[in-house]
């Protein structure tokens, strides 16, 4: 535990002793900034730190691109990209040419594929991973196959998936799900296996039967690891949606990116990249949000609190 976390904990404990009962201490870290006069300036410092690097990159980029050192179309300046992105989304100025106003459709297509692939791959992977961790028989049946197949890059599945599913959503969702599957399997197996022996013994001693042991001890203990797996799965899903849309479908942000590349519209290419980055980031936040709701206790145990 670092100094800050320790201070928070001590404050929390002292508070709880006064307030008695309930979750006073859990709410404490959130209340702290209001009471602390230095908090506002600290927040400002943090904000400056967060934007310093990307801000500098954008400024340098803008200067270089406007200086006329190279052809503007190769690496258009940030202002051009902003204009094009605006037109991509709202279709007002026509700056994005044939892509004007198409952003929402492409984004929804990509989001649907990511969601569908993540859902089947993550769910099936978690289920199989838990079973492998729980049962020696299931482990012997499936683990060797998983261990070999996970070394095959998912992109190597592209030819077969196109042959099986043809062009369209199916191969894309297949590939994304396959990518999401493996981290979910490995991490949920690990989650079951790393169960603390003493906790298992405590469950036995208290009189837990097999079902109670599974539901009340093993699964809650595995949950942090399962969530780590799902977070990795979500990350991979966004990598693969782009791959799949470049190769297998005629819609989505990956398709937009690749098509714009064919027509030498690097501004649209970069606008697509930005969109993918932001959506990937937001998806990750969603997983993290769900994880933190489920795992308040786990956050308290970890170093960065």
């Amino acid at each position: 535990m670092d100094g800050d976390a320790r201070r928070r904990l001590i404050a929390a404990v002292a508070d709880a002793a006064i307030l008695k009962e309930d979750d006073a201490a859990l709410a404490e870290p959130k209340q702290a900034p209001n009471r602390d006069p230095g908090a506002a300036s600290r927040r400002l410092t943090n904000l400056l730190l967060y934007i310093a690097f990307p801000g500098a990159v954008i400024v340098v980029w803008q200067i270089l691109a406007s200086a006329g050192l190279y052809r503007r179309a190769i690496l258009p300046p940030p202002t051009d990209i902003a204009t094009v992105l605006f037109d991509l989304v709202f279709g007002t100025s026509g700056e994005a040419g044939r892509y004007s106003g198409s952003w929402t459709d492409h984004t929804l297509s990509s989001l649907w594929r990511v969601f569908a692939g993540f859902a089947w791959g993550g769910a099936l992977g978690t289920l199989l991973g838990l079973l492998i961790g729980l049962s020696r028989v299931v482990e012997k049946l499936f683990d060797p196959t998983v261990q070999v197949l996970r070394n095959v890059p998912v992109t190597a599945w592209v030819p077969l998936s196109l042959i099986f599913f043809g062009i369209g959503n199916q191969p894309a969702i297949f590939l994304i799900g396959l990518g999401a599957f493996f981290p979910a399997v490995l991490n949920s197996t690990h989650g079951v296996r790393q169960l603390n022996r003493t906790l298992y013994k405590a469950g036995e001693m208290m009189g837990a039967n097999q079902r109670e042991m599974l539901v009340r001890v093993i699964l809650p203990a595995a949950l942090p690891s399962v969530m780590t797996g799902l977070r990795l799965s979500m990350g991979i899903a966004w990598v693969l949606v782009v791959v799949a849309e470049i190769l297998a479908v005629r819609s989505g942000l990956g398709y937009l990116l690749n098509d714009a590349y064919q027509f030498y519209r690097n501004d649209v290419v970069i606008a697509s990249m930005l969109s993918i980055g932001v959506l990937g980031f937001l998806s990750d936040r969603v997983v993290v949000f769900v994880r933190d709701r489920l795992l308040e206790w786990n956050r308290l145990e970890s170093y960065d609190g």
Binding site: L9, A12, V13, A16, A17, L19, K20, E21, D22, D23, A24, A25, L26, T198, L199, K201, A202, E204, M205, M206, G207, A208, N209, E212, R216, V217, P220, A221, L223, L295, E296, W297, N298, L300, E301
Partner: protein, 264 residues
């Protein structure tokens, strides 16, 4: 309440490097409501003995009986307090203490243990009922662990170095606390410890074990008056007993070290 009988208990561990006799023919009787402490140098088999009574291990031969029933697996009649408190990190203090009560096995038993709120207050954790174990100090965690075992009303309380991971001040406060709890509500207790002062202070009887192979070296009755308070540790009777036990344990440890050196 229950009594504990070990009848010619032998425990042999088989491993690739050979057979290790952890316990050789242990006979021991712990009476109802008796507080027995097991002391001995590390490696003398005292934790193995406790694991056998808890049901985590099975004897190679001989039998362990609690209240006449053969012990063949862990169960709520034999509550265990572990060295590293076995609290579930995803449950709050209250949920941890109530954990055992929610299990089918305990809903089927008649429990005369304390209610959750009552024990929360008794172990001084009422204000921390909504906290997670990670937010507690080591001493608080052990009190919560003891409470979680007491609510399932075990006939025997087994403690494996319960205060071994605590600093010396907290440890001594916890010893007083355990003593008070036990004196107001007696139970059969089997305590494994390497802390001889702790053993003499708490127990009715000490079992001194010797290792290689693990066996009972000496049984020492502790005829000190109860209720016992901290000052007892400075009395000549206490010091004499503690010194005697320390000498026996040290002699055995030295012998074990010499045997190991000769074997090497």
């Amino acid at each position: 309440m229950a009594d504990v009988v070990l009848d010619k208990v032998v425990k042999v561990f088989e491993s690739r490097s050979g057979r290790i006799t952890a316990l050789s023919a242990i006979d021991l009787h712990v009476a109802r409501n008796e507080f027995v402490a097991i002391v001995g140098a590390s490696g003398c088999g005292k934790s193995t003995l406790l694991n056998l009574v808890a049901g985590f291990e099975h004897p190679t031969s001989g039998a362990v009986r609690v209240d006449g029933q053969l012990v063949d697996r862990p169960g709520p009649e034999r509550g265990v307090v572990f060295q590293q408190s076995a609290l579930f990190p995803w449950l709050t203090v209250r949920q941890n203490i109530a954990f055992g009560l929610g299990l089918a096995a305990n809903r089927a038993r008649t429990l005369r243990g304390p209610a959750v709120d009552q024990i929360l207050a008794r172990v001084g954790l009422a204000a921390f009922a909504g906290h997670f174990p990670a937010q507690l100090s080591g001493g608080m965690r052990q009190r919560a662990a003891i409470a979680s075992v007491l609510v399932i009303d075990p006939g025997v309380l087994l403690m494996d170095e319960p205060f071994g991971a605590l600093d010396s001040l907290t440890r001594s406060l916890m010893q007083d606390f355990l003593l008070e709890l036990w004196e107001e509500n007696r139970k059969t207790v089997l305590l494994v410890t390497h802390d001889i002062t702790e053993a003499v202070y708490l127990a009715d009887r000490l079992v001194i074990m010797a290792g290689h192979p693990g066996r009972v070296r000496e049984i020492v009755p502790v005829d000190l008056p109860r209720p016992r308070r901290y000052r007892l540790q400075a009395t000549p009777e206490f010091v004499r007993l503690r010194d005697h036990v320390t000498r026996v344990v040290r002699d055995e440890a030295a012998k074990a070290a010499a045997t190991e050196a000769a074997a090497a």
